[in-house]
């Protein structure tokens, strides 16, 4: 009736086990939960019809992340106008008591907002999702060299983001 194939074996287990981690990756990419959910749902919907193939290749999660990242890159390319990247970042010390609950997250998202889309995608895949350089390259359709260069540029840029140094050395409660 609705043209969708029946639920594949193992799909539900995967969604239950991995949606949390996938959503958190989505949040790092987009900066908010509704967009993160959209990304994850889009990727899972793309994976559903080819699930059996993906499990045979033992790579469903890599595939789902690949779709997430590519969907995100397409959004950014097309008409990304969401939260405006600020260039100004929270001074955690001065305003920590006012906005304590959100400062760390806000600082993190603000810092990620400073990155070009592909650098941000590399940061999320490499450093949050723990993918190897070659898995990251495969997901993004580029060479390992390009992944390395995105990663080092991203690190350099994040290094200059005020507030991030404190976060990275563990000063702020999440």
């Amino acid at each position: 009736m609705d043209g969708r194939p029946p639920e594949p074996d193992g799909f539900r287990d995967f969604v239950e086990a991995r949606s949390n981690a996938l959503l958190r990756s989505g949040w790092l990419l987009t900066g908010d939960w509704p967009s993160a959910e959209d990304l994850v749902q889009t990727a899972l919907a793309a994976a559903w019809p080819r699930w059996d193939n993906l499990t045979r290749q033992d790579a469903p999660e890599l595939y789902v992340r690949k779709i997430m990242v590519n969907t995100y890159l397409r959004w950014r390319q097309r008409r990304w106008t969401g939260e405006v990247a600020t260039g100004r970042l929270p001074e955690l010390q001065a305003y920590g008591d006012v906005f304590a609950q959100v400062d760390a997250r806000q600082a993190l998202i603000a810092a990620l907002d400073r990155l070009p889309a592909r650098q941000r995608a590399v940061v999320v895949l490499r450093y949050f999702a723990d993918q190897t350089e070659s898995q990251t390259a495969e997901a993004m359709g580029c060479s390992v060299g390009t992944v390395k260069s995105h990663a080092s540029k991203a690190l350099a840029r994040l290094r200059g983001a005020p507030g991030l140094a404190e976060l990275m050395t563990g000063g702020v409660v999440s």
Binding site: D2, R4, R12, V15, S19, N20, L23, R24, W27, L28, T30, D32, W33, P34, S35, E37, D38, L39, Q41, T42, L44, A45, W48, T71, R74, W75, W80, T81, G82, E83, V84, T86, R88, L89, P90, E91, Y95, V98, F99, Q101, V102, A104, R105, Q106, L108, I109, A110, V123, V124, Y127, F128, A151, L155, L158, P162, L167, M168, T169, G170, S174
Partner: protein, 439 residues
């Protein structure tokens, strides 16, 4: 990995929060069903404006009652992820009349008996453990932040329509299509309800509707100076003296609602204006811009800038300004969490946080109604003193299971308080009456 890479990796895991809800197989199935039937519309057809609210309005909408909403929404998702969507996604009159063919807005004979809302006449129901006597009187998915009171009625935007809701019964008395626009609350001046009906390109269009019949009375086109901000948050306000103030790019236009003329344009030195508010005595116009966490004060009569304050270092996501005798209120937020602040005498460096904010991507927009400032959200519902910013009463909003319930847009009309309520878990939403203490 180098030490720095490891630190980055640890930090990402530590700071990234837990999601407010999981994605389920049913969510994905609904998405696939929406794709297969091609319901909804085509990507890119939804105009422009701030994405946040519409995406939030859709939040938690999986399931029976809201399923059509989700299916319709699914195609918007790709293009609308963080971009602007102006179309409200709701099925409030979907079952009784196809969208767009509802009651003629020019018809002066609109009557309650012709109510387009099939669901509005159900009896009031206690919700959210009955905090502040909360009772649901109207069951609709409204566009978030658009409920407002005035002229002894409630007004809200739902599904691209301006609705007039009877505060006594919760019935939608009449409605008029206002087209795709940004989620800006209607503004009531005298017997006219004003909405921002178009906010794109080189012009911002205001439309005025008769407060009783919702017959269209006026359309005012305001030229945009420079560019419109990507994320406008409260661009229309009215002041004593009855003038309308509308942010149109890097200027604020003053509109005479009687003659429908733009009588002045006050230019913003700090760039595109995201939000405006007028002090209750009409002597000051406040504007926030995209350039920083800032607040400019103007003399609305002369356009002269009277003051400017900014908080260097905070992300420039402030908006939803409300002005009271004691200062200016607004919101700040990135991503899923939004907080409300109060800046005494409009001096941002002195600002304090009010309320516990929201989660789950919802808004916590302050309102000033019935002599009190109201701050909703998904954690606490509060009222505060407009002169001092002091919280007068606060109540904890319960969760339904672990799912956040939401109260917002508190408005006071005809001696009672109303709010917009959502409970994604039970799929309930609509207008609630409140009986707040000491507010």
């Amino acid at each position: 990995m180098t030490t720095e890479e490891r630190q980055l990796s640890d930090m990402l895991r530590r700071v990234t929060p837990e999601p407010p809800r999981r994605v389920t197989v049913e969510d994905v199935a609904l998405r696939l069903a929406g794709q297969a039937t091609g319901s909804g519309g085509s990507p890119g057809s939804e105009g422009s404006g701030p994405g946040r609210r519409e995406r939030q309005a859709r939040r938690g909408s999986a399931g029976r009652r809201w399923a059509p909403v989700l299916a319709a929404a699914s195609v918007f998702v790709v293009a609308g992820a963080s971009a602007g969507i102006a179309v409200a996604l709701t099925s409030h009159h979907g079952s009784s009349s196809p969208s767009g063919t509802g009651m003629n807005s020019a018809s002066p004979s609109a009557s309650p008996s012709a109510s387009p809302s099939a669901s509005a006449s159900a009896p009031a129901e206690r919700v959210a453990d009955g905090i502040w006597g909360a009772e649901l009187i109207d069951r609709e998915m409204l566009t978030q932040d658009t409920l407002t009171g005035g002229a002894s009625s409630l007004y809200a935007i739902a599904g691209g329509d301006l609705e007039r809701i009877d505060p006594a019964t919760g019935d939608v008395v009449t409605f008029a299509p206002v087209g795709a626009s940004i989620a800006n609350p209607p503004v009531v001046t005298g017997n006219t309800v004003w909405v921002v009906s178009s906010y794109a390109g080189n012009s911002v269009v205001l439309q005025g509707y008769d407060a009783k019949t919702l017959a269209q009375l006026a359309s005012v086109t305001v030229p945009v100076s420079g560019q419109l901000p990507a994320a406008p948050e409260g661009v229309l306000a009215s002041g004593s003296g009855g003038y309308l103030y509308v942010a149109a790019g890097s200027s604020v236009a003053v509109v005479n609602p009687s003659t429908h003329q733009v009588i002045k344009q006050i230019s913003s030195s700090a760039g595109p204006v995201t939000s405006v508010a007028v002090s209750p005595d009409g002597s000051k116009l406040y504007a926030s811009t995209t350039s920083s966490f800032d607040l400019a004060t103007y003399n609305p009569a002369t356009g002269a800038e009277l003051g400017f304050s900014a908080v260097p270092g905070l992300a420039n996501t402030e908006g939803n300004l409300v002005a009271t005798s004691g200062g200016v209120w607004g919101t700040s937020g990135v991503g899923m969490t939004e907080l409300t602040w109060f800046a005494p005498d409009a001096e941002l460096p002195r600002m304090v946080r009010v309320g516990a904010g929201t989660g789950a991507g919802l808004d916590s927009v302050p309102t000033y109604s019935g002599g009190t400032v109201w701050i909703g959200g998904s954690h606490t519902l509060e009222c505060a003193d407009p002169a001092t910013g002091q919280v007068l009463a606060s109540v904890t909003i319960p969760t339904d299971g672990s799912v956040l319930e939401y109260f917002g847009s508190v408005t006071f009309t005809g001696g009672r308080a109303y709010a917009y309520y959502q409970d994604p878990r039970s799929q309930q939403s609509g207008v609630v009456t409140l009986t707040p203490p000491q507010c």
